[in-house]
């Protein structure tokens, strides 16, 4: 499933569906179960029916009535008077919890013997 067509085209997977939505909604809209289900049914149908390797099947759903969101995607905030500023989030090497309670919960897990469902892989070249 993809919402980044040019990246997927470049990677060239065996088969894919493309959903023309903003990033972070690759499987549908929040709390819209009927649409999520339609998207997944279309995805399964593509899985079943695509014959030509490298096919990216475009799904027919629109995020909104206009495409204004497309101009804003990955572009600097137009309200900023300065030119391009670096508004990216820093790439920090410490665990980034959604909330403090999660950090506490993880510490409890670790104190009870470790996170058995967290798999850390070795990089021999690191």
């Amino acid at each position: 499933m993809s919402s980044a067509y040019s990246i997927t085209r470049s990677v060239n997977p065996p088969r894919a569906v493309y959903l023309d939505f903003p990033l972070g909604r690759t499987a549908g809209k929040a709390n819209d179960k009927p649409l999520q289900r339609k998207i997944m049914i279309d995805t399964l149908s593509a899985l079943d029916s695509i014959q030509a390797p490298g096919t990216i099947r475009e799904l027919p759903y629109q995020w909104s009535v206009d495409d204004a969101w497309k101009d804003l995607a990955m572009r600097p905030d137009p309200d900023r008077s300065a030119g391009h500023s670096d508004n990216r989030i820093g790439r920090v090497a410490s665990a980034q919890y959604q909330c403090d309670a999660d950090r506490t919960a993880a510490e409890v897990t670790l104190s009870e013997g470790g996170c058995s469902t967290c798999v850390f892989l070795e990089d021999s070249r690191a």
Binding site: S10, P14, D20, T26, A30, R37, D67, K70, A105, L121
Partner: protein, 162 residues
């Protein structure tokens, strides 16, 4: 339907240019991808789910943002309320409201109830997709995930990047 799609390769190039960085070297596979026709109908198939939106479960260690090549096991029946999302490269608002938009485990579970697929595998696997090193994904993470899917005896796998 032909409306212009956002070109994220181009947008990234523009962003990096503006910051004075070299362009990012995206993976480009020119050869025909490996393709295995389905061996059985989907209604008889066990489906694996892999998602790269930085999804973890309450109680697990969260991902970090500097080429984190770890992954999480998310058991089949995990309650949606326990799922979290953490990532630096996409707007998390909708994923935190409804994880199914980047991790469609419930959506697939519902389709299993409706016999569109036989079942989900025992675990879904999630990782933090903002990994800049192609080598780390290609040589370490992807083979490890493929291994898990084989051990889980899934028939097909769905990958949900962000």
């Amino acid at each position: 339907m032909s409306r212009e799609y956002v070109d994220y390769i181009q947008r990234t190039r523009e962003q990096y240019d503006a910051l004075g960085y070299q362009p990012y070297a995206w993976v480009n596979n020119d050869d025909v991808p490996p393709f295995t026709p389905l061996a059985k109908p989907l209604q008889d198939s066990r489906v694996g789910l892999i998602a790269s939106g930085g999804i973890y479960c309450e109680g697990q260690i969260a991902f970090h943002f500097k080429d984190d090549i770890s992954y999480r096991e998310i058991p089949r029946k995990t309650a949606r309320e326990r799922l979290r999302a953490t990532h630096f490269a996409y707007d998390l608002t909708d994923a935190r409201t409804d994880p199914n938009v980047v991790f469609p485990q419930d959506t697939l579970q519902d389709l299993a109830q409706l016999s569109r697929i036989r079942e989900l595998g025992p675990n879904a696997y999630t990782f933090m997709g903002g990994i800049y090193s192609v080598r780390k994904v290609r040589d370490i993470l992807a083979p490890a995930l493929a291994d898990r899917l084989v051990k889980d005896k899934v028939d097909v796998a769905i990958l949900v990047p962000v």
